[in-house]
Symmetry: none
Subunit: 193 residues, 4 copies
Amino acid sequence: MTAERVLRADARRNRARVLEVAESLFTTQGIDVPIEEVARVTGVGVGTVYRHFPTKKDLVEAIVAERMRRLVEKARTSVAQPDSPNALFEIMDGIVAEATVKKHLGIADAVQATEKPAAIEIIAADLRATISHVLVAAQTAGAVRADIELSDVLTTLYGLSAAAEHYGWDEARRHRAITTIFDGLRSRETSKD
Amino acid sequence: MTAERVLRADARRNRARVLEVAESLFTTQGIDVPIEEVARVTGVGVGTVYRHFPTKKDLVEAIVAERMRRLVEKARTSVAQPDSPNALFEIMDGIVAEATVKKHLGIADAVQATEKPAAIEIIAADLRATISHVLVAAQTAGAVRADIELSDVLTTLYGLSAAAEHYGWDEARRHRAITTIFDGLRSRETSKD
Amino acid sequence: MTAERVLRADARRNRARVLEVAESLFTTQGIDVPIEEVARVTGVGVGTVYRHFPTKKDLVEAIVAERMRRLVEKARTSVAQPDSPNALFEIMDGIVAEATVKKHLGIADAVQATEKPAAIEIIAADLRATISHVLVAAQTAGAVRADIELSDVLTTLYGLSAAAEHYGWDEARRHRAITTIFDGLRSRETSKD
Amino acid sequence: MTAERVLRADARRNRARVLEVAESLFTTQGIDVPIEEVARVTGVGVGTVYRHFPTKKDLVEAIVAERMRRLVEKARTSVAQPDSPNALFEIMDGIVAEATVKKHLGIADAVQATEKPAAIEIIAADLRATISHVLVAAQTAGAVRADIELSDVLTTLYGLSAAAEHYGWDEARRHRAITTIFDGLRSRETSKD
DNA sequence: TATGAATGAGCGTTCATTCAT
DNA sequence: TATGAATGAACGCTCATTCAT
């Protein structure tokens, strides 16, 4: 029993290491990196990778799910703060920041649920709910225009993340972009065109 | 001489058809579509595809270049109009519209010059110049904040195009997004955060 | 009629140029050089090459036949001289010299008739007859051992040509090799092993 | 550990079988035989061939190296014998014999070092050293002319091997040819031309 | 007749996935 | 359970040859 538990711990550690290595490789070199390479760098055989992730698709999804989980966590942290308008800013900043350093993996894609596997969709829904919550709070506080919808925010996040991924924004550049965007979301007597 | 022209015309037509089919396939299903499939749908042999585009990379670049050219054309048309603030809006709208129906091909990528082949870079530079021109005009007219730089606009275009591609925006959705963004770019006594 | 003759002259010139270019290319880079390349360098279309040589094999054979013809010519010249032992030496030297600068084309192969096309076999037979003639004369003159057969000479030629091709012998090296060989062919009370 | 050894043994056996089949096929039909055919005849998938020989070039080199190794072995065996003049004869006979039944693969080429991969060059150097050793011994014993150099012997070997390959010599024919050549190498008051 | 565009079989190579050890 | 050898479908690309112009 102890032996079994040790084994499990080992297996779990293997899974984690594969995940980590794969994220790093896919992120730096694209998803065309062979599973064999992932195994090699991780220091295990291909069989082991396949034991944990029966399909390459499964591995990619696991990585995406993992990143989503980190996003949700960040979002939750922001929500915990009282000042809601800043909360929205922080959430967006956190998400876009995550995208900044991760390429090739469509972190941006993960925000929206389009034919995503169930596991990911659940987490994505969670994230959307959190954002929605913060958005409403911001609107109630009069900090964001009332006609802004959740989909507008998600869309904006997608665009910002894509740009951040593509250009490899640093913090300053990211803040500048989000701030500019926020000026468009902010409450006022706006847009008479 | 006429005979030669006829032959060339035929070849040119084939080239155009391959380009069209390839753009359509890559756009809908991603660039992993085999050249053989491109040939099959076009109704020619693989050899013909390779005669016109010696490498798959060449084919993709040709497609991107072609799309860029369309973008530049659209941009030029907009510039021709007197009302500069709308000119900027129109240019952005045109570019994003182009992205709306084309996926997987990073039309957005084409806007920025990152290790792009020379041929494409030339067209991209042209596009950037045009946008820059319109931007300055808009700022001079007081319609856009003075601290907005060309790179801000390009970045925004990238993000918008990416989102448009991803979500398959219709015209209304696209206009809404661009309008919102414009509110952030617009001249005023803005952002005290 | 004059026009036709002119045309023929042109065609003949084309044939000759193709032959020349092909020999040069195959000789320097091996027979894997595409017909298209041969056509390009010659300055004609592939169609023209195929008009004169319906098959790549035909082209190669034509080149080999051409070289054989040169060999026969050299051999004939040597035969014309009175001093037969030297005649054999000269013939061998001539053949090996030809091989010296021509690689990849198995000039050596051409000496022996093994499943060679008829056209080549006729010329090869001619060459063998000439050599045989000279060999007998040399033996009659007592300059070459009586137990040497034509096949020995052909074999030796093959080996020498192959080596000459492979090492790119200059004249000195070639003479040295042939002289040494001749010492083995020369009449005497030799080899008691 | 035993398990690992077993697996390795299996893999090694496969490698050996591929090598054997490939040598046979390349030898009989030339190196243009497709890898797929090699795999088919061996009874494995193409992937297996590529696992052991990442490139067709690698496969060919492995075959050549293997043949070289056999040559060196034969040469060593001959050297072990006391009678040096015969030792040279035996070495040459052994090398040419190897060439007799193997075509298309330029076993002869392997004797000389021309832009050969390092691995092969090492073995070739070994072979040359052995031959040189025997040659000097033969000259010291007065059995071979003093002005014969190693390069003469190598050249001769090349020529003989090429001829043996080409004509498919049997033992008698081979001995006859080598004997004749030896008459040219043998010590005496030689060649006054 | 000369041209060169088109064809398509064929080849070298890769890589996700399976399975014997 | 972990390993890595084996599999084979699939792909990018080449080139001898044909044929419309």
